[in-house]
Amino acid sequence: MLRMFHAELLKMQKSSIWSLTLVSPLLASLIGLGIGIEGPVQWEQLMANMNITHTVLFLPLLAGIFSSCTCRFEHVDGGWKQLLAQPVSRGLVYTSKFLIVTLLLMLTQLLFLAVLMITGWIKGFSGDIPWELFLLSVGGSMFASLPLAALQLFASTIWSSFAAPMALNVIFTLPNILIVNSEKFAPYYPWAQPFLAAFSLTDKVGGLPIFDATLYGVVVSSFFLFFVSGLAYFQRKEV
């Protein structure tokens, strides 16, 4: 497993994909800086404002872009046939690719957190930083973007074109703005899950955050569904 991941890492290191992790946090910080915030819960308000474009639009798009990128090298110049003719199991190849996507999403979220701090610091916020909320929100939307990442990795292994899975992702991300408002459908819509996870923890009961059972139930089960289907497809794929 380690050697496979190690090899995948080298392919990604030299690619410009890492710079994409910065885009959304920086845009969010511009929004955060531009917006006027008053009242006692400054940090919470700042995070909510910065999180909207980030989780509604960019996080779902990035999950797709990262997935497509990990497969793109293989599609373009016959990488699959060389890689799969090596003594490595296909399951490991697929899992390593997914881990790379997860790593990139984690990095995006960490940068978002860092940018959030810096923005608040520039604005001169004085109150305590609500760490628990921050970590649960940032971590939650990261976790909730994994089903989408698994679905997109599945699509990226099927289509050898870079554009097809991307187009699919964009088409389903755009209606997000409407769908996140629907209490009924949003938890079942993979593109809306990162947003819901980021905002579902703002209510507290007796000092403990409440997890949205429906949302996380759907996230966990759809993740397994998408990942296992993708893996099963990849095991049988002919290159």
Partner: protein
């Protein structure tokens, strides 16, 4: 019992109801250079893909290193180096990094990268991104990648594609030296007979998905026996006169299989005694190329 490096039985691959590879019984012995010859689209690459586990056979079995491929994939692929069709590479990485990716999978010492790079004479270009390479350089990198893991079996699909004459010569010499120096078994495919003729010790010819010839290259040379042609004034009647099942009338010349001098003289005598005119009697030797064409057209002359 002889030991086969690769042995397939009834190997068949069907794409959309069309049999691309049909009932292939390959037998490749250890230490051989097996030339896998066939016109473009005959099923060479599909066969090679199945040997590497990249495509699944529709039916039939594959045994490599005496083990079933399906159940021992890792074991077999660890001892096998391959280059399938066009070379595979990661354009944004340098030649060295491309090999490093594979080295990490194979768990072999780093020094091996420099070794294979110098074998294909790419060591001076090692630090350049591969996207700027010429096709020939990419091909050489592909061969380096195939040799990286010190394989006991090397499967090369059209390895000299895109190389210039001096590159072709180098790769050919390299392939020829492998069984002697490292005991490697090589399966090399090509659509050019002249190329296989210069490298291979064994020959397998595939046409329309079927193996139409499999034997040593010496065996096919014997097929290139000569035949005797008679230029006569009435080839149609002379052909009936000769009355041999092997006599053919091609463009006004009657051909029979090779005959000893006395038999030729006797035949001339018969023709002349029936008042036909003989203008010329000639001996013709078939080239390997012609034999290849005959075999791949599916004619029954073999």
């Amino acid at each position: 019992m002889e030991k086969f490096m690769i042995q397939t039985k009834g190997l068949t691959k069907t794409f959309k109801k069309k049999k691309v590879v049909e009932n292939l019984d390959l037998q490749i012995k250890e230490g051989e250079i097996y030339g896998f010859l066939g016109p473009n689209g005959a099923g060479k690459s599909t066969t090679i893909r199945m040997l590497l586990g990249l495509a699944r056979p529709s039916s039939g079995t594959i045994e490599m290193f005496g083990k079933n491929l399906q159940d021992n994939k890792s074991f077999i692929l660890k001892k096998t180096g391959s280059l399938v069709e066009s070379p595979s590479y990661y354009g944004h990485l340098t030649a060295y990094e491309n090999l490093e990716v594979l080295r990490r999978l194979l768990e072999i010492p780093k020094s091996r990268i420099d070794e294979v790079l110098s074998i294909v004479r790419l060591n001076r270009e090692a630090k350049r991104p591969v996207k700027g390479f010429s096709l020939g350089m990419k091909q050489r990198l592909g061969i380096a990648a195939a040799m990286l893991g010190n394989p006991e079996l090397l499967i090369l699909d059209e390895p000299t594609n895109g190389l210039d004459p001096s590159g072709i010569h180098e790769i050919r010499e390299l392939i020829r030296s492998l069984p002697k120096e490292h005991g490697t078994t090589v399966l090399v495919s090509s659509h050019l007979l002249s190329e296989i003729d210069l490298m291979a010790t064994q020959l397998g010819i595939i046409a329309k998905g079927q193996l139409v010839f499999q034997n040593s290259i010496e065996e096919i040379r014997k097929k290139s026996m000569s035949r005797i042609g008679f230029h006569v004034n009435n080839p149609v009647e002379v052909k009936t006169l000769i009355n041999s099942s092997h006599a053919v009338n091609e463009e006004g010349i009657v051909y029979v299989d090779y005959l000893a001098d006395a038999k030729v003289a006797a035949m001339i005598d018969v023709i002349v005694s029936h008042k036909y005119e003989i203008y010329r009697v000639q001996e013709e030797k078939k080239s390997l190329e012609e034999i290849f064409l005959t075999i791949t057209n599916g004619e029954a002359s073999l």
